[in-house]
């Protein structure tokens, strides 16, 4: 029940804003902020009610719900969380109020529409992370496109229309194939979209490789994995600050979440077979993203390409077939959401002051804006992966897991590690050019951060340090869920001797499908005879 409230409270906020939109700007902002804060506060209940010992989805009635929805098609409203989705849900509810606060004064037209889009987006994203029914998952996955489409398209920059259409079409093209994959799974799962039974029967679906690809391509576009990344820089650069934060912070995680939730446990063998093809792409993404980020003259584009690089790490860890690697990847999803979210917020703040994002336009800001420079430094270091801050823990675990997991050549890990060095190069070089040197005349008068802006950034900083110093708070609850996924993938290593349980499941699924088929076949024949 609690989980449903968390998911749909923002939607209630959409309705409230729609009804009260004539009450003035501050009322609209107030409602949106209160609703999103309330959602966050309630979502903390998910953490306190979470039992870390369970390796599947939480069974507590507050955190799990199943209701029949469309019985004719075998669809139910089925939601729940495990140690992986818990953090992504909390990340979403955490970032949304921050975004609303960050957008406080920057929306000029259509404020109510902006807040409605943001809140609707929150519901969509939360639904994606909590859905345990593939149909429900797909509904949220697609529905979430609409508010994001409006956010970029209406409140974005110069080339916003091009960017938003590219974003929607890329995602839709990917998800079209995933829909076919979902349907093919449905008939092998006893005519049900239930994710729990699907996960139990993981590895028995056919044709595994095609189904794996149908899902994987949809997620790879979302991540985005090289070479599907071209929509990302456009979307990021044109999106309003808040759009970029949500996009980098949460939306990209839907891709990696999909991989760890569906691709790996449902098609472990196909995932293992595809690893030699995917890992090079991830490594190319890491290095390519870093190199392209290095030469960007535009701050926002730089951060956007750094996302390509960081998410390459996440994909690398996911395919490492090791607990540590997958844990690191899940943690890195959170880290990236915090660090890159904060970077986009900072770039947005400086853009509001200077109306430029070009690195050459800046210089010497550290003297004029000491608070800004300090926070920027911490976030920069977190993004690079400085020990003691969050980025280090995630990247370290990913690299470690990739090394010991032995799922692919260790040379890939070596190449990937250069990504860490390159990250230091492009981030610190950017920091140096923006913050040090002598400020020119136009930058002389830039005011430092306002209390509201500091309030926006402080919570993020808190977690950046927290994860860096004591990651166990976050790693502990996900351990069981991650090892459940890792277990699935590892079992497939011994491919020639399938486990006993699989044969039984295999037999069961093969029995159910023909039964249904003949039943309908007989029916039509009988009917034909009556006619």
């Amino acid at each position: 029940m609690l989980l449903s409230i968390v998911i749909f409270l923002p939607l209630l906020g959409v309705i409230a804003v729609a009804l009260l939109r004539n009450m003035g700007a501050s009322a609209i902002k107030g409602i949106a902020l209160v609703i999103s804060l309330l959602t966050f506060v309630i979502s903390i209940g998910l953490y306190t009610g979470f039992e870390a010992g369970i390796d599947g989805f939480q069974t507590d009635a507050q955190l799990y719900q199943k209701l029949l929805w469309i019985d004719g098609l075998g669809i139910s409203y089925h939601i729940g969380i495990d140690g992986i989705s818990l953090w992504l849900v909390l990340l979403t509810t955490f970032l949304t109020p921050i975004c609303i606060l960050a957008a406080w004064n920057s929306v000029e037209k259509g404020l109510s529409g902006f807040m409605m889009s943001l809140l609707a987006l929150e519901t969509g994203m939360l639904g994606v992370f909590c859905a345990l029914d593939l149909f429900l998952f797909f509904v949220f996955w697609e529905a979430m496109l609409i508010p994001m489409y409006f956010l970029i398209g209406i409140w974005g920059g110069e080339r916003r229309i091009y960017a938003t259409i590219k974003f929607v079409l890329y995602t839709m093209a990917g998800s079209a194939l995933m829909l076919v994959g979902i349907l093919a799974l449905y008939f092998q799962n006893g005519n049900s979209f239930d994710l729990i039974t699907l996960l139990e029967a993981g590895g028995t679906f056919k044709p595994a490789m095609l189904l794996f690809l149908a899902f994987f391509i949809a997620f790879a576009i979302k991540v985005p994995l090289f070479p599907f990344h071209t929509w990302l820089p456009d979307a990021h650069v044109e999106a309003p600050t808040v759009g970029s934060v949500i996009l980098a912070g949460v939306l990209l995680k839907m891709g990696t979440y999909g991989i760890v939730r569906f691709c790996l446990p449902l098609f472990p063998q196909a995932a293992a077979d595809a690893t030699p093809w995917i890992v090079p792409l991830a490594v190319i993404g890491i290095i390519y993203g870093a190199l392209v980020a290095m030469v960007q003259p535009d701050l926002k584009k730089l951060v956007a390409y750094s996302s390509v690089s960081h998410l390459g790490f996440v994909v690398l860890g996911l395919f490492s077939q090791s607990d540590a690697g997958i844990q690191g990847s899940v943690l890195q999803m959170i880290n990236h959401g915090l660090s890159t979210g904060a970077l986009f917020l900072l770039v947005g703040m400086i853009y509001e002051r200077r109306h430029s994002r070009m690195i050459v336009d800046f210089g010497g800001l550290a003297k004029k804006m000491p608070v800004f420079a300090t926070i920027f430094l911490i976030v920069t270091l977190s993004s690079i992966g400085l020990p003691g801050l969050n980025g280090f823990v995630g990247e370290f675990k990913i690299l470690l897991g990739s090394f010991v997991g032995d799922a692919f050549s260790k040379w890939y890990v070596v190449f990937a590690t250069t990504g860490v060095i390159l990250a230091a190069v492009y981030m610190l070089w950017m920091y140096q050019r923006v913050m040090f040197g002598t400020p020119d005349k136009t930058n002389e008068a830039l005011p430092d951060l306002k209390p509201r802006e500091i309030a926006v950034l402080l919570p993020i900083l808190l977690f950046i340090v927290w994860i860096g110093v004591y990651p166990n708070t976050f790693l502990k609850p996900m351990e069981e869920s991650v090892s459940a996924v890792a277990e699935k993938v590892k079992v497939k290593e011994t491919e020639n001797t399938p486990a006993v349980g699989q044969i039984i499941i295999n037999g069961k699924t093969q029995d159910t499908v023909p039964e249904v088929e003949t039943a309908t076949g007989q029916l039509t024949k009988e009917e034909a005879q009556t006619k």
């Binding site: 259509g110 489409y149 929607v168 079209a176 093969q510 309908t520």
Partner: protein, 489 residues
């Protein structure tokens, strides 16, 4: 010689009889000069409403009986299609009342023809006999030819009527020739009779030729590529309300007869026509969607979009299982509601100097006219198949039935799988042009300030009904899915 009069249970014909009665009442009231002719539109709505209510009642009762020497079949299949036709007629009447304006001379024949066409559609869905289906088809088509050219003073409308008449007559001839050949092969025109006579072994070239001529005939009527060329011109030239009407009910009627004949009379030669249907479906979706991208006129865009939607429905027929049938039926109902809604929103965007049909005219509309912008956005998102709208449920169910047919226990029908993949990719393609209108409405600045007419209340009622329908079916489709599943042949 004594004439044997078959026992007729008139109560089974209530929906049709109500429409005939309404038609006669409209005819009579049209001759009375003293009253405002707007009443006729309301009479149409009330009459269609009663017929709708009767149809639903009979559907719930599970009526399944033959009438008139088995020439006429009242089963849940035809009753479900009755619902589609009557919902379309009610919505079209609602958006027509203000559209026709104060010109009293125009009202009477207009509603008369709409009702006649509706009657024709109901005959087509209930026909258990190729000749009855042909009669229904002609009754419907002849009314539509006149309606397409209804605005005599407008050259475009006249051209549309003429074009529709010529191509429609061709199509009818193909259809009739097909019937003749099938009669030659089977010796009967009764649908169950044909199925009885024909088994897979007894297929003759005559029968195959007849089958393909029927496909050509239906292809014209429901605008399947490559028989679609008339549609854009007719939709563009015809009065907008009639374009909405032609794109909805008659298309559903064409499919009603199409599916009944092919699934009930010719299931034994499914291997022969199945591949053709798969190819036509692929072609129709792809060509319709790709050409729609290039359109600048919103009516033409909707015309190509409606061609593409016929392709989606064909997937249901290609699946050739009971889920395929019910998904096609559900899709047609959803499609009718959302398409009429979209055309209704186009009518709502009228200015003092006529209709705004160029997509560029919609710039900035979303913020200046929030209600209109919201309606059109909702309908377009539904047409594009975004959840949580009805369009998504419809597409999903269609794809599901095709995957079910494709993935058999032992073999995978690669043709059907590729059909679903093509369909899914087409959904993404279609999003491009639907969203472009939304982009124009919300993300572009208007070039000139247009003075929009005040909203006519009947039109708004129609649109609100369509919007409620689209959202309700999208969020709680259970009831409709079940009744469609129960209504299969």
């Amino acid at each position: 010689m004594p004439v044997e009069i078959p026992d007729i249970n008139w109560s089974l014909l209530m929906p049709q009889l109500v429409i005939v009665t309404t038609l006669l009442i409209v005819l009579v009231f049209d001759m009375i000069d003293a009253i405002s002719k707007k009443v006729l539109g309301w009479m149409t709505i009330v009459g269609a409403g009663i017929a709708l209510w009767k149809s639903i009642e009979m559907l719930q009762a599970g009526t399944n009986l033959n009438q008139f020497n088995d020439m006429f079949r009242i089963d849940s299949y035809s009753l479900f299609f009755n619902i589609i036709f009557l919902v379309s007629t009610i919505l079209v009447a609602l958006i027509s009342i203000s559209y026709l304006g104060r010109d009293d001379k125009k009202q009477g024949p207009y509603y008369l023809l709409v009702l006649l066409a509706t009657l024709g559609m109901m005959l087509m869905a209930a026909g258990n006999e190729l000749i009855i289906i042909f009669l229904g088809l002609e009754l419907m088509s002849l009314s539509l030819y006149v309606l397409a050219g209804y605005f005599r003073e407008s050259p475009a409308s006249s051209e549309a009527g003429m074009k529709y008449l010529l191509l429609g007559a061709f199509a009818s001839a193909f259809f009739l020739y097909g019937i003749a050949l099938i009669y030659g092969a089977a010796g009967t025109t009764s649908i169950p009779g044909i199925a009885e006579k024909l088994t897979a072994e007894s297929q003759s070239p005559l029968l195959l030729a007849g089958t393909f001529l029927l496909i050509v005939g239906f292809g014209f009527k429901v605008a399947i590529v490559p028989f679609h060329q008339w549609a854009p011109d007719v939709y563009e030239g015809a009065p907008t309300t009639i374009a909405a009407f032609i794109s909805a009910g008659p298309k559903a009627a064409g499919f009603a007869a199409f599916i009944r004949i092919f699934m009930e009379a010719l299931p034994d030669i499914q291997t022969e026509w199945g591949g053709v249907v798969v190819l036509l479906a692929m072609l129709t979706m792809t060509v319709g969607n790709i050409i729609a991208i290039a359109q600048t006129n919103i009516k033409r865009m909707l015309a190509y979009s409606s061609i593409a939607h016929a392709g989606y429905v064909l997937i249901g027929l290609a699946a050739a299982n009971s889920d395929g049938e019910s998904s096609a039926m559900l899709y047609l109902l959803i499609y009718c509601v959302m398409n009429i809604g979209a055309f209704g929103a186009v009518i709502l965007a009228r200015t003092a100097d006529g209709e705004n049909l160029m997509i560029s005219d919609y710039a900035g509309l979303g913020f200046r006219k929030p209600l209109l912008g919201g309606f059109l956005t909702l309908m377009l998102l539904s047409l594009a198949g975004f959840p949580p709208t009805a369009g998504f449920i419809g597409k999903f169910y269609i794809f599901k039935s095709a995957v079910q047919a494709a993935v058999q226990p032992d073999v995978v029908n690669t043709w059907l799988v590729s059909l679903v993949v093509v369909g899914a990719i087409n959904t993404a393609i279609s999003a491009f042009y639907y969203l472009r209108v939304v982009v124009t409405m919300y993300m572009r600045e208007p070039e000139e300030e247009l003075e929009f007419n005040p909203y006519p209340s009947t039109l708004v009622i129609g649109l609100v009904l369509a919007a409620i329908g689209v959202l309700l079916i999208g969020i709680l489709p259970s009831l409709l899915v079940n009744s469609a599943q129960n209504a299969v042949l």
